[in-house]
């Protein structure tokens, strides 16, 4: 039984109170005295030479404070990339410059060209309309395969081509892989697109820059998932501001999903402009602006092949992907199709030979970077669609084929470098079969057919690598940062604790879940623990929240710091109770001497730490505050099995999700209610990718889906109630809580189940189609039914 309010309790969230009463403090709610507003004039052309930016008419307009262009940033660093990938020849990737405001060329619709700072946003916008641009249009490079052909127009003239890198993994195994394909009894091939998506957290991005001439301190309020990362990148590489003079604050943030990880031009601009103008400068993105300036996600074109022997065992996998980088390298972009995608190509299976090739390509589109799952949805989708296709080609049940090839022993060293610590794929598949009521499907199909609809059942499993990541490992792989996490636990004299964490909550509920851990460790009420996050002035250096890392890495740092607190507290208690520290036990907030009835309350010990009168001062400093930095020794590996049932209307192609079942293994769990909520949200995004969402460009590089009118966000009526289970738990073997993390799994595991279900529905109607690309819209279904 979970301790009341401790680990395993579905404690209600304390942050809800402010959100439900309109008292959240999001970055757009922050208004500084004397602030000016900035409006960015952005390119409406995908590719062109920027020959003139004439601001003369705009300069004199009402309310204009100052207008900035690329010229103002010539002495300033460009936007840095935080990960350098090495190609298959051992050469570093092509790394073009990325200016804060366009210099010489524009390379995607939405690229910021000029920034108008004015007294009001309306005046800034009015003045921007008076800026005259001369852009000599160049042919836009949009299709990736066209982009890497000889003679294709270059997005970056100084680079040899539009190829950022050609990555192969594991290069030494390529020959053996090819040989396995030659000798295979059966080969299944699949070509597919992993559609470009826009993260669209409900809160658009905002930045407020401030500068104090009295102490030379810069402050940036920003909608970021990782304020310290922004401080480091912007301070060290763009603006040349030392850390102790730059404070970055991410207050309440309304969703991130990856897109708020990266350091953006607007952040650097507002920080720079606040000093230049000697006023706070505020930028609030509109939604249309978000579509053309927030990093996009996914956008892979893949061919994948599976080799099987005569007994249906997987003998090899070979996959070739074109991965879109967009016009510039966003902060983590190169790592997503390589180290977060190639290393997942074993999936849940014991395939002995795997080779992954990825060509990353520059195009005249918005930069692409991590979005919920970051590489793992792409890996899972191609693998699980491929396995399903193989099952149908071979006439084998899709679940049986998977089970036959499941990894059975752990730890398991995959042929793509990662080693899974623990897992039990049979358990989650068993659980899923129970949840999905497969036995009842035939009857449900008959009911659907009686209504003139086809019904399909789709299943898949997944593994994912998260809880990122061991610093030395990612360093070898090209990361330019560490991936540890930090926590300072400060105990106050009267017994309350404050945890200053490098993790950041933008919906994940850390303010509720983290105290549960400490409540369990010390045996006090969780309400005595307060979480502080999101402010570089108040928390130790941390890498922030993404990659489902907060509980696994941030939580571990908090545990290590709390262990130090408890160890010191026991020393103090031992002194007061006149016992050796080895005999002191801590249970339910009481220190006692083993085998006696001598005890001391938590609050007495904490008071003694700060009023050290009966205290071992010769051996121990006063105070009770400890810091820990935790660097994980491995990724964590959640896994699971998902099933989807759809109804398909053959006359319109409309698909509805009738049932969705998800059996996940997240290891140990802190707050089941929060975990379930994370899975729900992930499932909605995965279903959205599968059926609805598509970020579309035309061949001239015009962004066709640039608002909620054109980009189909999932609504409540598009989705069912989900059936979610996380009772299968193989605890992580290498972190103190045994947790794996759960934030991205839903988005990683769900698209294949949906597509598999649609194809199954079509087959039941006599239409055997090998694949339909996402989003599986009514138009695409209908066309496939006719063709």
């Amino acid at each position: 039984m979970p301790k009341d309010g401790g680990i395993g309790a579905s404690t209600k969230r304390r942050e809800d109170v402010r959100f439900l009463t309109g008292n959240g403090r999001y970055t757009d709610d922050i208004n500084l005295r004397g602030q000016a507003y900035v409006f960015f004039l952005r390119s409406d052309v995908a590719h062109g030479k920027l020959t003139s930016v004439d601001t003369s008419a705009a300069e004199g307009m009402d309310g204009v404070v100052r207008i900035f262009t690329g010229k103002d940033f010539e002495g300033v660093g460009g936007m840095p990339c935080g990960w350098q990938v090495t190609d298959k020849h051992g050469q570093p990737m092509q790394e073009p410059g990325h200016p804060v405001l366009a210099q010489g060329k524009v390379r995607h619709v939405g690229e910021p060209i000029a920034a108008v700072v004015a007294e009001t946003l309306a005046q800034a916008r009015d003045a921007a309309e008076a800026i005259v641009l001369e852009i000599e249009e160049l042919p836009a490079v949009i299709n990736m395969k066209e982009a890497v052909k000889d003679g294709a127009p270059k997005v970056h003239e100084e680079l040899p081509s539009n190829l950022c890198y050609d990555w192969g993994f594991v290069e030494e195994n390529k020959e053996a892989v090819n040989k396995a394909f030659e000798e295979a009894a059966h080969v299944t091939t699949l070509e597919l697109v992993n559609n470009r998506l826009v993260a669209n957290p409900m809160e658009p991005r905002v930045a407020v820059g401030d500068y104090s001439r009295s102490d030379g301190e810069h402050t940036l309020y920003t909608t970021s998932q990782n304020p310290h990362v922004i401080r480091l990148l912007m301070g060290a590489f763009v603006l040349g501001i030392p850390e102790h003079k730059l404070r970055v604050v991410a207050p309440d943030v309304g969703g991130g999903f990856g897109t708020k990880i990266f350091h953006y031009q607007e952040e650097a601009f507002c920080t720079f402009a606040a000093k230049a103008c000697n006023r706070p400068v505020k930028w609030t993105s509109s939604r249309s602006e978000a579509f053309m300036s927030d990093a996009h996600g996914r956008d892979h074109v893949t061919k994948i092949e599976l080799a099987l022997d005569g007994d249906n065992n997987f003998t090899a996998i070979r996959t070739d992907t074109y991965a879109n980088m967009g016009a510039y390298l966003s902060t983590f972009a190169p790592s997503v199709p390589t180290w977060l995608h190639g290393t997942l190509m074993a999936g849940n299976y014991k395939t002995p030979l795997i080779y992954v090739n990825v060509k990353a390509v520059f195009t005249n589109t918005v930069p692409v970077d991590a979005y919920r799952g970051a590489g793992r949805p792409e890996a899972t989708f191609q693998l699980e669609r491929l396995v399903d296709k193989a099952a149908h080609e071979l006439g084998v049940d899709p679940i049986k084929l998977r089970r036959q090839n499941f990894i059975t022993e752990f730890p398991y060293a995959t042929p793509v470098a990662v080693e899974y610590d623990t897992g039990d794929y049979f358990a989650t598949m068993d659980k899923l079969e129970e949840m999905a009521d497969i036995a009842g499907f035939a009857a449900r199909r008959k009911e659907s057919e009686a209504k003139g609809k086809l019904r399909g059942f789709g299943v898949n499993c997944y593994i994912e690598a998260c809880g990122i990541a061991p610093s030395n490992l990612v360093g070898q792989l090209g990361a330019r940062a560490g991936l540890y996490e930090s926590a300072t636990v400060r105990v106050n004299a009267t017994g309350g604790l404050v945890v200053m964490t490098g993790s950041h909550s933008h919906g994940q509920g850390h303010e509720t879940a983290f105290p549960q851990v400490i409540a369990e460790m010390i045996g006090i009420d969780a309400s005595m623990v307060e979480i502080v996050h999101g402010d570089t002035a108040r928390t130790p250096m941390g890498m922030g929240t993404y990659g489902s890392r907060s509980i696994a890495v941030g939580g571990s740092a908090m545990v290590r710091a709390t262990e130090k607190i408890i160890a010191k507290a026991k020393k103090i208690a031992g002194h007061i109770l006149e016992a050796s520290e080895g005999d002191i036990e801590l249970k339910d907030g009481m220190f006692s001497v083993a085998g006696t009835d001598k005890s001391l309350a938590w609050g007495d010990v904490t008071l003694a730490a700060y009023v050290p009168h009966n205290y071992p001062l010769e051996d121990l400093e006063p105070g009770l505050e400890e810091t820990a930095f935790y660097d994980p020794s491995n990724f964590t590996y959640p896994s699971g099995a998902y099933a989807c049932e759809v109804e398909l209307d053959p006359e319109t192609g409309q698909v509805t999700i009738e049932r969705f079942s998800a059996a996940d293994d997240f290891g140990n769990i802190i707050n089941p209610m929060i975990v379930t909520g994370q899975v729900h949200g992930g499932l909605a995004q995965g279903i959205g990718q599968a059926l609805l969402e598509n970020c579309a460009y035309d061949s001239d590089g015009q962004l066709l889906s640039a608002s909620y009118m054109d980009y189909a966000m999932p609504r409540a009526s598009d989705l069912p109630f989900y059936d979610v289970d996380h009772s299968c738990q193989t605890p992580c073997t290498h972190n103190p809580l045994g947790v794996k993390g759960c934030g991205e799994a839903g988005a990683i595991g769900s698209p294949p189940a949906v597509v598999n279900a649609v194809l199954d529905a079509m087959r039941s109607g006599g239409k055997d189609v090998a694949h339909i690309d996402m989003p599986v819209t009514p138009a695409r279904v209908w066309a496939a039914m006719q063709g």
């Binding site: 439900l20 409900m202 809160e203 309304g254 919906g507 909520g677 729900h680």
Partner: protein
């Protein structure tokens, strides 16, 4: 500039606005009531839903001058007089119907309007009503559950946590 005067959460609110000032901007910028959020620019997302003269309205799609003389209710006025969460707000907390909180004010205000017009909505009716409220975090499961629970219906059969 034009003077507008309206009642917001029971108190008089007045200010000078331009013709083009949206009600959402008047509430947020002039009145400092930042609980009403702006999430899009095509009137789809619903984060800005308020009540004007008892009707649910998207404050991003109404001009401040159109609300002159009106009675406006925003999320800041929804809690009980003693500061405790009202039935809908409490149901959202009980059922984890929010994560980042950004769509939440609009969800609560839409839910209040729905339950006034349809006191015991079915799941399908709730989902349909929320077509004008987008959430990116929750997948809607717990929002729908919370609204049905707030209406007094038994939600124990709905797949729980």
């Amino acid at each position: 500039m034009t003077q507008v005067k309206m009642t917001v959460n029971g108190k008089t609110a007045s200010g000078d606005v331009e013709g083009r000032t949206l009600l959402a901007q008047f509430l947020r910028d002039d009145q400092g009531l930042t609980g009403t959020h702006i999430g899009c620019d095509t009137s789809q997302c619903g984060a800005c839903v308020v009540h004007v003269n008892g009707q649910a309205v998207k404050a991003c799609t109404m001009l401040a001058i159109e609300a002159d003389g009106a009675t406006v209710d925003t999320i800041e006025g929804q809690a009980n007089a003693d500061g405790s969460l009202n039935v809908i707000q409490q149901a959202f907390q009980d059922h984890h119907g929010l994560q980042c909180g950004f769509c939440t004010p609009g969800m609560v205000m839409s839910a209040a309007a729905l339950l006034k017009e349809n006191p015991k909505p079915t799941e399908a009716e709730v989902r349909h009503y929320l077509d004008g409220n987008i959430c990116r975090c929750t997948g809607y499961h717990n929002i729908v559950k919370a609204i049905m629970a707030a209406s007094g219906q038994d939600v124990s059969a709905i797949a729980a946590e």
